[in-house]
Amino acid sequence: MEILAFIPPILIGSAIVVMIFPKFSLKGAGAVFTVCLGSGIGLGLTSSTIFLWLAWFGRPGAAYRVFEVGSAILLTTIAFYRFHDDTSGSQDEWPADCGTNDVPIKWLKRLCIILLLISAGSFGLKTFIEGSYGTIDTRITWNYRARWLFRGGDQWEHAFYSPVARDAEYEDDKGHAADYPLLVTGSVYRGWEIMGNDHFSIPIIIAGVFTFGTYLLLYASLALLRNQNQGYLAVLFMLVSTQFLHLGTDQYGDVPLAFFILSTVALFALKDRFPAISLQAIVLTGFTASCAAWTKNEGLMFLVLVILVHFIGQIGKNDGSNLLKEFFCFLMGMLPVMGTLLYFKLKFAPRNDMVNIPTLKQTAFHLLDLDRYLIVITEIFKKVYQFNDGIVILLAVYFLISGLDRSGKGKKHILSHVMLLFLMMCGYLFAYMITPYDLRWHIGSSIRRLFIQLWPAWVFLFFYCVRGPEQSAAEDQPGKLSPEGL
């Protein structure tokens, strides 16, 4: 029954994607892309509307349900008419050369589906039976605050009370990350409020949506940009990265953030690949980047870097008026969720435990300490090498054997995506530099999760650039010995 609570957000999000991308959004890989992206955007929007409702009108009751279901019906109807009008009209805005007409390798497709189903089985067993309440982080941050919003009555604001942040003392971690944004907390609270009880299945379903949404979004975006086979291969690679599934089952907030980072990077790649739909894609990147900021504080850094790399960094390189138009579209997409985030940060959130006035002097000392730089850089390299049993080595060997694909269009912009992810890693390094906690403990306890935030986006970029799994005609035919070889 709990699954019913997720129908309105999925409908709302998918309808928004269909309204923006009517031409391709319900065909083949485009449909997968729409539903996955729509689920994430829908959860982002509904988590912010329920928080605003709670803050302005009090406990959301029947009126909120009517508002949400009404919005879903209205948006779906508009999307249906927009889709119908667009497909029956003559306008052809989606390019014909997108990778939706390719021929899938059947065994690769079957293997991918079977292994996805097996992973879904692992997820179900691990969440519903073995670890229903998630890991400790869930209990002290996401669901802790959601339970306060749900059970707290008129004192629900206690969810954001943090003795640690207020006293700037770090001996104990009571009131953990109380300033963190509310996408996961708000979505869990919303599910509980709609169902009328705080059952553990709601956070599990949210974790499932983002974990498997990431796999499917990776497939769909590569299928649109390259071809389906490349999408299947990328999903298989993500399934080999079992750390991702593991963190998903533990209900960490890093997996939803990874989903939104991947969505943003994939949408920017679509924008570069198909200039005809660039403005529509930019509006959606506004939604996804703001949802990343609404998920975790690292997402806020991601949003700033997106603006820096894709807009400020393009000044002088691109046409000024076009850039301004794109930035306006980005702001339009960003506005609904970002407005809620600003309201939350200014009115409810306590100060951050790492960046605040009382620790400013200590932060300055840390930044000048060269030993800390050495420790952080060494630890990061060590952990990258050890990540998921050295999976980066597998990636490197695959690249050496397979080689770079030089045929695609739009790849000249690939450097900006790489730069974005690289700057995110620099941001993590900076966060470790200024941490008031014990440095080695902080790195050891969090770096694996930080890698997971960027991992799907790196995998996407890797498979976007390397050659596909299919043998080209120029390569050796099976079973034939080339005369030159003998």
């Binding site: 669901n143 707290g152 080999v240 079973g479």
Partner: protein
């Protein structure tokens, strides 16, 4: 001579791979083969943990154990909490289970109500200035401050 043998070996290898995986590059197997083994292996590991080892989330037992005392605690009121369970995460489980009451770990500052979890110590403990209000029979007890 050696080059020829290497080329023959390479061609033979390609032919064998293409017999089973027609029209794909050999490099693909670097991903397909690990995925074929790792994903089912992970699943079997989870099955073993759940069915054979019967591994369960301690959160479930905390929720059940503290469900009764939660009904007896006034909402939003602070209470003290003492446990003989020497695990730092115990505090987080109990705090989560007892929302919206506000848990204060230890006896300082002292409040009117005291929740005790004694799982490893037999008998009913005594606390100066407190008297037993209710024993829930599962290691959880509720004390209240004695009238002066």
């Amino acid at each position: 001579m050696v080059t020829e043998k290497i080329e023959i070996f390479k061609s033979d290898y390609k032919a064998r791979i293409n017999r089973y995986f027609p029209a794909v590059r050999g490099a693909v197997l670097l991903i397909v083969v690990p995925a074929f083994f790792i994903v089912p292996y992970y699943f079997l590991t989870v099955v073993k943990e759940v069915i054979v080892d019967k591994k369960r989330d301690p959160g479930v037992s905390y929720e059940e154990r503290f469900a009764a005392v939660r009904q007896d605690l006034p909402a939003h009121a602070p209470f003290n909490y003492v446990s003989d369970y020497n695990d730092h995460i115990d505090f987080f489980y109990v705090r989560y289970a007892l929302i919206p009451a506000r848990l204060v770990q230890g006896m300082e500052p002292s409040h009117d109500l005291l929740v005790v979890q004694y799982l490893n110590t037999p008998g009913i403990p005594s606390f100066k200035g407190y008297e037993l209000l209710k024993n829930y029979g599962n290691g959880v007890m509720l004390f209240k401050r004695s009238a002066k």
